[in-house]
Each structure stands twice: as structure tokens, then as C-alpha cells.
Symmetry: D2
Amino acid sequence: MAEILMNRQEVYSYLLDVFPELFPEDHSPYDVVSINPDEAVLAFQANETHLRPGGTVSGPALMTLADLAMYVVILAHIGPVALAVTTNLNINFMRKPSAGRLLGTARLLKLGRSLAVGDVTIASELEPEKIVAHASLTYSIPPQKS
Amino acid sequence: MAEILMNRQEVYSYLLDVFPELFPEDHSPYDVVSINPDEAVLAFQANETHLRPGGTVSGPALMTLADLAMYVVILAHIGPVALAVTTNLNINFMRKPSAGRLLGTARLLKLGRSLAVGDVTIASELEPEKIVAHASLTYSIPPQKS
Amino acid sequence: MAEILMNRQEVYSYLLDVFPELFPEDHSPYDVVSINPDEAVLAFQANETHLRPGGTVSGPALMTLADLAMYVVILAHIGPVALAVTTNLNINFMRKPSAGRLLGTARLLKLGRSLAVGDVTIASELEPEKIVAHASLTYSIPPQKS
Amino acid sequence: MAEILMNRQEVYSYLLDVFPELFPEDHSPYDVVSINPDEAVLAFQANETHLRPGGTVSGPALMTLADLAMYVVILAHIGPVALAVTTNLNINFMRKPSAGRLLGTARLLKLGRSLAVGDVTIASELEPEKIVAHASLTYSIPPQKS
């Protein structure tokens, strides 16, 4: 099990810095809920721009949530110096989520020197047992200067 | 090989109607370039909101392009009545694309009664041989009323 | 959460019947270890035909284990009448497993009328925390006669 | 476009050496049909051990064909010295193939220093337009000694 190098606040501050367009300081739709060994939970409050006709959250908004939740769990375990990028994302959409707060729970399945693999389970905060989408992701981790 | 039921203009008009947030009439970043049997090409002109630090196009922007290009090739072959939704998307990111016009070329590999399967190859219009990302997608097609 | 319709012995007997080539009665490499709500564990004892030079278990043997473990969890929850087939499988290989008993733990993430989605985590029985491979699968479930 | 370093016969001889269990000299079900820039075709003649009840080719047999076809196209372009392993495979099953000769056509989409990405389209030799399965794969390529 990997050691935690950044806590919830440190990860969030780092995201504000590097993704200002996703994390505008005063009204970001994302929130880092918790970080635990090999796990992180990212919340997402969909707004009108993320909805499709009928009031369901769009597929791309769910993919972005999965991608970010995986990034959060990696950051928490490798620290802020690394520039990790997604190389593969696979997602199954299972239910159409209504607007409301969604939670993306990311598990770190492997943290190697050059690749990190994990999965993300997305569900509404109000109905956590009804899984909305499930994604598997691989990130490439660039070599660290020592 | 499936028959084409909607041409380029008909698909584009339909998208303007159903996805007004993605296709604002006067400045949409997307454009339907061509529709051919079992194939469609969708162009995407990334703007500042789609870029990451360093000027590369974000992963979610590429996933959205793949998802829409697949939707376009399905629409063109089943017509405007159908409400198709993505059930699976798998994407490999191969190169970081610079800002500029990207083309997503969608191939329809199978069009069944309830599922459509295809893939989308994304490359810059200026360097078509350097593939930026490649996605495989499955859409669920609801039963048609007759 | 779905109800369990077949127990461990019933699933195993059914597999002996329908997959005689994979489950020869006297020396099958597979064993149904446990069935619980939305979960099943399938064991696999690799023999020489499943090994690659160096003594590691081949990729196709791991994919077969993932596919079967998912089939087991579906069977347990829909009963023996259904003819389910894999429509999508995505697998990440994380470590090369040595010969020995492997466990594939399948979770049922969604059991719908026409599609079942789940994931399978594969690890050696002796080192369960070192994940060897992780797969996500979709099965198509044919309409039931009533 | 990558340069071809091994021809059809050289790749086949190499496979006989490294995968004796898959390529028994006198009756292998696999045959390297052709190698071209960024493309390779591998044939597979399913025998009784690869069939499911009803006479269709099993999913694992198709996954093995996809995995091997991708390996062939990589070998042809990096030469026999490399020990490449699959890190990700995603496959969509579209039609149940009858027994008979199947062709797996592998495209090399990216050949980097440490990762190769491609896809494989599988169809019966007799009905090449009816795609049976389509897979996307990533191989990890170990660093070369120079």
C-alpha cells in the first residue's frame, strides 16, 4: 500500500493552481472529499452546463470526473512534483444520473515507477448503491529528477 | 454497409437543436466535415477553455470529440428519431495535441438493432498521420416505435 | 443488490455441463470458491499449458479467468436458464503472476434486463494485496421467455 | 510510419521459438499472412478446443488472436530482441464467428520508445466485411540495450 504524501487541502490547493479553468476559486464544481491509503473521493456538483436535455449529467462530465478523481488519488500518493497524464481511460455508463452531487471514488490498484492504474466508481451522494458509471484508468508518470 | 439517412447539413441542424450548449449557433467549436457510408468526420477547434497549461488540448475535450463523432456517424445511419446513449468508451491518448483544428474520424463497425459499435481516430488537420488519440465506443440504441 | 439464485455447487455443476472443455470433471483448473451478493470468487490453478517462458501465467489465461469469473457472478444472480455472452472486456495487466493458484474476484456493478456490467480483480492466493490484473466486462443477457 | 525490421517468415520463425505451446511446428492454428508498414495480418484456424456449444469460436480464442496479431505487428517493426508485454487490452465482440479461418488485421497506431498502441479487427476470411470483434491494445516495450 502506498504512503500518502499530500492531504486533502494540499491536493485541492495544487489543483487550484494547475487547473484554474476547472477549479475557479470561488465556485468550482469539484471538491476533494477525502484521501485515504490507495483511495480518494472527489465530489462534483453538476451545473447547467453539464446537463443534457432531461436534466441528466452528460457523459463527458462523468468522464472528466473519473479522470480528475484518478488524478487526485495519484497526486496524493506521489506528491506535487509529478506531471502525470492519462494514457488510457475505459468507462461504462450504467445509469443516467440526475443533477445533484456526485461522488467519484478512485482506488489506486498499482502505483509503479512509470505507470499508475486504478478505477473510479461514480454514484450520486444520495444513492451510493446505484452506480452511475465505472471507469478504469492508466496514467503515465514521468521520471522523477533526484 | 449501412445506408445513409441524414446528410452533413441535416446532422448538424439536429445537433444544434438537441445540444445547444455544445453547438451554439454562432460560435460552435464543432463542425460536421463529411459523412460517408459507415464513416463521419467531425472537426473541433479548441478554444482557451479546452487547453491545459502548455497549450495542449485537454483529455476531456478529446473524449468529448470522440463521443460526438461516434454520435454523428450513428445519427447519419439511423436518422433523427433515435435517442442513442453511450454505454462504453475506451480511449488511448498517444500524443499531446497543440491548439488548432482537430479531426475525429468515426467508423461504424457494427450497427445492430440495440447496439452500435465503432471507433474514432483523432488527429490534427495539419498532421493527419500523427494520431493523437484512438477511441472505441458502444452506443445503446433504444427500440424504435413503428 | 441482486438476489442469489444459484449457489456455489449449482454454478459449478452448470459449468461442467456447458463448458466441458474448460471444466473436465476430473482435473479442471477452475474452482468456484464462493458466491455472495453481487460477488463471486473463481480460483484458477495454472498448469504448463498456461505458462509463458519464465514461468509466468499467459495473458490469455488471465483474460479467460476474468471472463469466467464474471460469467459465474452473473449466473449466480440470473440462474441457469440464461445464455449470456461477453460484449466488451477491458483488462489492465499490472504484474506478471508466477504459477500457482490465482483468485478472480468478480463484482456485479449493474444487473439490468439486457446488460450486466462488472469488474474482476485477479491476484495470487498467496499475495492477495498485489493485484495481477483488473478487468471490466459487459455481458449481454438475452430476453427471458416467461 | 515505422520501418519493417522482420518479414513474415522471420516473425513466424521467432514465434515458433518463443511460443512453442501456441506454435507447434507441425499443426499450429496460427499463420502470419502478411506484414506491411504499420500493419500485419494473422490467420487463425479454430479447432475443436476453441469452439463453444453451437460451433462458435470462444471469446478467449478471439482475445488470444487479437493479442498475438498485435504482437506480430510490433515484432515486425522493432525486431526480435525486444520483450514486449501487453499492458491493456479492450475488445468488443460483435458477431459470433462460426468455425473456419479467421483473420486478425493489426494496425500500429503509435510506436513509441516505451509504449506501442494499435488495434486489431477480426473477421472471417470468407466474410471480411462482417467484423466479428475489434480490439485496442497497448504493449509495454522494455528499454533496449545499446
